[in-house]
């Protein structure tokens, strides 16, 4: 990145209006002004539904929507026809599990991690139950170090499906998805990856990784809320039934039957979040202009600094993966104070963090804590933000007299 953080922050209008130290990007990232502008442009200049419109606004909306698909595909190393726009990671996950319910035979085993966010865990859990599959969970290590070998060991000849979290939304741990995928493919198991905390924060290339399905949200990578992606290998998507059916995805309909259009439209029933998809395309362009390597290097620097500074505070226990395998998240517990009270006081001090189980309840049970406080970093954060966090934590200790 040739521009400084200060220059980069100018591209986020929210910093003009809010003095809050924003350390909650793992919940949702801030939006660059450029992304806001393209969303606004759609509504104010060429608002129309995509496809089949024979006037210039509809043609432009279609062109911009499909251009966004191409941008996103390029960003994750996929073909455009393998990128399905969805309402977000959770919808993507529910869709793919619904598709797999149709696609897979009954029985066999599914392997996934205790580390998973509920968005992956719960649809997978239900799929396993409905398909009568044995659900094998891979545990986390107490040091929050990602353990790909445990995954590889859990995969057996009976494994049909493997669910992997690319990066943990709690500990920041980045898993070696390629290694797990290779092991899964050796036994002809399919791999579904939740890359919500990873895409836009580090390089993710689906073809290189050879994963079968991968999903993420737009709003954690500088895009608008309400839009996400489901990636699937083209040859698999072609064979699969759409989980949602209705308008915009048929080639023929009679009173008794219907035939579907081609992939990916087949999986985009109904009017999509057109502005959202276009905004996501712009977010991808923005991230490219900064450079993902720069984004990741920056997050690592801040993570390292936060681990050092926060770790030096007495009574703080860190739940954060080693820097070189961390996407930019530092969760922690403060002795004698509940995470909600920590977050409340930090909030009053102008530092935005998140407290709770971060939709990863079984992970917190495995770590032996009811909840945690999470600070997450992105490209617009600075060391000053970390300093504000540490000052805030000391203030908490002062208020609680611990």
């Amino acid at each position: 990145m040739n521009i400084t953080i200060e220059q980069l922050k100018k591209g986020f209008s929210i910093f003009k209006n809010s003095k809050t130290v924003y350390l909650d990007s793992a919940a949702t990232s801030l939006t660059p002004h450029k992304v806001v502008q393209v969303v606004e442009k759609y509504y104010e200049e060429y608002r129309a539904n995509t496809h089949r419109g024979l006037y210039k606004e509809a043609e432009r909306a279609t062109k911009e929507y499909e251009k966004a698909r191409e941008e996103v595909a390029r960003f994750i190393g996929a073909d455009a026809r393998e990128v399905v726009f969805t309402g977000g990671a959770t919808l993507s996950s529910n869709m793919i599990m619904g598709m797999l319910e149709d696609f897979l035979e009954n029985g066999g085993e599914v392997v996934s991690g205790v580390i998973d966010h509920h968005a992956l865990m719960l649809p997978l859990q239900r799929l396993a139950r409905r398909k009568n599959m044995l659900h094998e969970y891979v545990d986390v290590t107490s040091e929050c170090v990602p353990d790909e070998d445990a995954f590889v060991r859990a995969i057996t000849a009976k494994t049909r499906l493997v669910g992997v979290t690319f990066a943990s939304n709690v500990t920041g741990a980045i898993l070696d998805v390629k290694k797990i995928t290779e092991a899964a493919h050796k036994v002809s198991a399919l791999v579904v990856v939740d890359a919500t905390a990873a895409v836009g924060h580090m390089d993710v290339n689906v073809h290189e990784l050879d994963v079968d399905f991968l999903f993420f949200s737009g709003h954690k990578m500088c895009g608008p809320t309400g839009v996400g992606v489901l990636y699937g290998k083209h040859e698999l998507l072609e064979k699969m039934e759409p989980p949602l059916i209705g308008g915009g995805m048929v080639s023929d309909v009679t009173l008794g039957n219907a035939e579907w259009t081609e992939v990916p439209e087949k999986f985009e029933a109904g009017t999509q979040h057109i502005a959202g998809a276009i905004g996501l395309g712009e977010a991808v362009r923005f991230l490219d202009s900064v450079g993902l390597e720069t984004v990741q290097k920056h997050a690592r620097e801040l993570t390292e600094y936060a681990q050092e500074q926060l770790g030096a505070v007495e009574g703080v226990t860190l739940y954060s993966a080693p820097v070189e395998k961390n996407v930019g998240i530092v969760s922690f517990a403060l002795e004698g104070v509940h995470p909600h009270d920590v977050a409340e006081i930090l909030g009053k001090e102008g530092v935005a963090v998140r407290a709770g189980h971060h939709c990863a309840l079984p992970l917190h049970s495995a770590l032996g804590i009811p909840a945690s406080t999470r600070a997450s970093f992105y490209l617009y954060n600075t060391k000053d933000d970390v300093d504000a966090l540490v000052r805030g934590v000391k203030k908490v200790q002062q208020v609680f007299n611990v």
């Binding site: 104070v337 909600h340 009270d341 006081i345 001090e349 709770g356 208020v399």
Partner: protein, 123 residues
């Protein structure tokens, strides 16, 4: 700032909660949870002749939910069931004597909601 919320009596009830113990052979034992934050309590009541003889609780939660549980169990001890049923969330806020923001409402009312559910199941 936060001193408004974390007043001394809240911190006191948080660090040394009253009635925080398991009650043997209770009339009612009711688990109550806030699934969004993981706060989890069990409320124990001993009810005799329409009167709450003893109210205790166990569990884990933030300072606000701890203090509310501590204060509420103190308040209802010796109270008739009919009277306790008429308690409102404003009564809980009065006990806490601090401004509860919408984000902390569930914390403040966690045990209160458990209490109302427990009392409602008595018939």
């Amino acid at each position: 700032m936060n001193e408004d919320l974390y007043k001394q009596h809240i911190l006191d009830h948080n660090s040394a909660p009253r009635n925080k113990e398991v009650l043997e052979n209770p009339t009612i034992e009711l688990p109550t949870k806030n699934p969004s934050c993981g706060d989890s309590y069990i409320l124990y009541l001993n009810v005799k002749g329409g009167c709450i003889e003893k109210a205790t609780f166990t569990g884990i939660g933030c300072a606000i939910s701890q203090a509310a549980a501590s204060l509420l169990t103190e308040k209802v001890k010796g109270m008739t069931v009919e009277h306790a049923k008429k308690l409102t969330k404003e009564d809980v806020y009065d006990l806490l004597k601090v401004d509860i923001s919408s984000g902390r409402e569930k914390c403040a009312l966690l045990l209160f909601n458990g209490l109302q559910e427990a009392l409602g199941s008595l018939e």
